[in-house]
Symmetry: C2
Subunit: 205 residues, 2 copies
């Protein structure tokens, strides 16, 4: 599969890379994440991102009218997928699996960038990034929790009336709270403790 012709991406001096649509967009979003990790929210500029993606400023502004729009999209696209709900045949194992994925997403580079941007931007922009956390991490994780819990109910392992909104909020709430307030990075044994001390008793018939 080696080719003697250099690909577009391998020609550093090239003025026009002739990239279009999704390929150029991906390069711009990657450059935005790169800028974020090196110069932070305060230092990131549309010009810098354009230079990093080796394109013109107009190509960036055509797609994203503002820095906040661009960064929100870059973070959303960069967050790891939580994948399909696991099915290990037991509620403890399934919750443990989902929690580890959520923890890994929180500690991924875009996950950490999202958190630090929230601390660096102004109040209105923060709302925007808060929505990225909700749409990109919290809602997908709650969907997985809902699925593994309902499977637990079907198996008779979880009491039937356990699946209220309040119960579904407990794990995301604990993960946010202990990261923020206790500085926890949620090592595996803390995840197991939360499941055994908090969730298993809630689910008991």
């Amino acid at each position: 599969m080696t080719s003697s012709r250099p690909t577009a991406a391998a020609r550093p001096g090239s003025v026009s890379l002739r990239r279009r649509g999704p390929v150029l967009e991906r390069a711009i979003l990657d450059a935005a994440l790169e800028q974020l990790s090196t110069v932070g929210w305060g230092g990131l500029t549309m010009e810098g991102v354009a230079a990093g993606a080796r394109t013109g400023k107009a190509a960036v502004y055509r797609r994203w009218p503002s820095k906040a729009d661009l960064v929100a999209d870059a973070l959303r696209a960069g967050l790891p997928e939580l994948e399909d709900a696991p099915d290990h045949g037991g509620i403890r194992e399934d919750l443990y699996d989902v929690c580890r994925r959520v923890r890994d997403a929180m500690l991924s580079e875009p996950g950490l960038a999202l958190r630090s941007v929230l601390h660096q931007c102004d109040v209105n922009t923060a709302e925007r990034f808060q929505a990225v956390i909700v749409g990109g991490m919290i809602e997908p994780s709650i969907a997985l929790f809902r699925e593994v819990i309902s499977r637990g109910v079907a198996r008779g392992e979880v009491r039937g009336d356990a699946m209220s909104g309040m119960v579904l909020d407990v794990i995301p709430a604990m993960m946010m709270y202990r990261s923020k307030v206790c500085g926890s990075e949620w090592p595996d044994d803390e995840i197991a403790q939360m499941i055994d001390q908090v969730m298993v008793p809630i689910f008991r018939a």
Copy 2:
């Protein structure tokens, strides 16, 4: 109890109010909260606070070397006390009572000011104010939860091994999460739902 002589605080034009120690400190802290509610963290200055407290800038700097020191103390002093643990004879009633006090503290003027300052200041100062939330609201509330739960254990109402650190974090975690993510102001019926759907099952023997 009416007096014909005006008190020091009632003489608006007076240059020296001759207040000392705690009285002057209280006036400065009040002026800082006042400034915070009118001009916000960005607009608050040591000069403005000194003028508001009708004292000199030196009197402010002598006690608080920086704006962050002053505002942190003002918020800490302004937060309502959570008072002693209630004892209604039942875990549901006791938790409900403590949760309502925590909610009222969160929604008090200094509680709301604390939240908005956190969004307006830089990252390092935010850590400082985060510590005010932990020391001024979270830790006192956990102490109350611990007390009412241990009384529930003594009554045989709550299983003996329920009082782990993880369980004590559940209510503060839920209160922070649903305020932040769902915009909840924790009306009484949501507090009751959380207790019945989440806490009562956790405590069940």
